[in-house]
Symmetry: C2
Subunit: 322 residues, 2 copies
């Protein structure tokens, strides 16, 4: 939660007048979002989100993300649509930062998703994957298997400050996944961070997906694995098979899974758990006391990883291929 | 800038359904406001502000503040209007805190007020003072002359960490003001914190006054003195007579000043400067490193105080009685 970059009324007024969105009526810094500064602005045309991209985002990657949102929105995916200025540009600069205005999506994110939310998610995830197939650009996933060892090494022996023998446990898991990580599965644009806080609902229906700043090219089933981890565990870290079935059934109702994709879900889920375990360990060890953002608990993802290690086949989750 | 209290979608949905404002469409924590947690919520009826009152606010004083806003709004003052729930209550509880919903005011606060903004302010300040006259309640100003010495003593010798001999300088000023502080001037409800960030503009016009949580009963001219300090100094701490004239002329166009009020402005301005100097010194010395709010610079108000000490009469500001 943070506004990192303050913007004055004069700067913002001038900035907004470059767009055809009407007069600026108000703006409020939003105390959400870890990576960037977000303002909710009201103009004569309605509400928008203004994002100022902070240091963790690489400026050269911003055209990819904005083009992707533009492509998705025009393909019928409910997501923030970048607004073009009068010159047709989606990316400008404000207060010394790259900046963009996107449409505002009404909706709430669900703190405790129910089975119905998981079903709704599966459908929209599959539609998102299909829409991504016609996007002409790609981006390497820096947080897939090749990225995990550098992250693990950057954490080093201090990893054991979080849990006894955690470094050893991660090392073993990493070696296993490096040796057994699948390839050749259907690939395309994945969201790669589709946690509940990035999915808005109005009533029982999804009103939009947000935060595409981890989107990249990878195996589509890896995105399913990320969602199984983020949506189908209870707060006591037990795996809710009913939610997983609902997610998978609604996904496959839109996009059929290959046999390989289905069979390899347990190892993809282990990889997905390790990916978030590693970034959470790293963030935990590198949090500074003055930070505005509280690091997320790594142990949650250690528990999920351990669970998936006990599963030999996708059927052991209680899941069946549609 | 802070959201101190997190509210879940379920809690907030249930809370909002107690009001006749339509379905909850979205809510965003606002990274502004020092004292309380504020959410900008969109419902089917439009935007509102939800405030959760944090520890610095005394719960027993909340009815005064909400009644005041209710009275002001019904008296034609542009300000947030508390929304009553279906039982007619303005004050409820949410997430363990006292909570209220008020109407949302579109508008921007002006980082660098011009003369025209000061003129607009003077008019609205006077209207606010007149509207307050018919409010049936009162509240002691804890930050008037009787409150300054306890605050000064709580700061203690560490005060000199901020500037050489600051403790001595404040001590002398305090003794002078205690001996010479006016009484008997026209009194009523004052805002007591009408800084630029509490005044919203849409174009050249004020769209609303906000943040009444320092409002109290005191000399009306003390409120003018607070505004002269907050609006009429340049960033180099020079006093802009043109702005002060504009503020005062538009104020007196709505509410005439007594001779005493006019003559005593220099000492009221000294007191107003000391009041903010003291709270800023206190906050500076008591800021903890983990705080989400950066304390404001005390030196700015030391410079303002020193300026007012050089002024023997209101005419020396370049001001004349209307």
């Amino acid at each position: 939660m943070a506004v990192y970059t303050e913007v004055s009324d004069e700067e913002l007024g001038a900035f907004v007048s470059s767009y055809d969105v009407g007069e600026l009526w108000s703006y409020k810094g939003i105390a959400e979002g870890v990576e960037n500064t977000n303002y909710l602005i009201h103009t004569a045309n309605g509400p928008y989100i203004l994002t100022l991209y902070e240091k963790r985002v690489r400026p050269e990657e911003l055209p990819f993300f904005l083009d992707l949102m533009d492509h998705l929105a025009s393909s019928g995916i409910k997501c923030p649509t970048p607004v073009r200025d009068r010159e047709g540009k989606m990316l400008r600069r404000l207060a010394g930062r790259p900046a963009a205005i996107v449409t505002f999506l009404e909706g709430l994110w669900i703190r405790r998703p129910h089975v119905e939310h998981c079903a709704e998610l599966g459908k929209h995830l599959a539609k998102f994957h299909l829409a991504g197939q016609s996007f002409g650009q790609g981006r390497k996933n820096n947080l897939s298997v090749q990225g995990w060892r550098p992250l693990f090494e950057a954490c080093g022996p201090k990893t054991d400050e979080i849990a006894d023998n955690l470094q050893r446990e991660i090392s073993d898991e990493l070696a296993f996944l490096e040796a057994n990580w699948p390839n050749g599965l259907p690939a395309g644009i994945i969201h790669a961070d589709l946690f509940p806080d990035n999915v808005f609902f109005l009533g029982p229906e999804i009103s939009g997906l947000i935060d595409f700043y981890f989107a990249c090219t990878d195996m589509l089933a890896f995105d399913i694995a990320i969602c199984l981890n983020a949506w189908c565990f209870e707060s006591d870290n037990s795996f809710n098979i009913t939610k997983a079935r609902a997610l998978l059934a609604s996904y496959t109702g839109v996009r059929r899974l290959d046999d390989d994709e289905f069979e390899l879900l347990p190892i993809l889920a282990r990889g997905a758990a390790l990916r978030f375990l590693l970034t959470r360990v790293y963030d935990w060890l590198n949090a500074n006391d003055g930070a505005l953002v509280r690091p997320k608990d790594p142990i949650e993802y250690l528990r999920k990883l351990r669970f998936h290690r006990t599963v030999a086949s996708t059927r052991e989750y209680g899941l069946e291929k549609a």
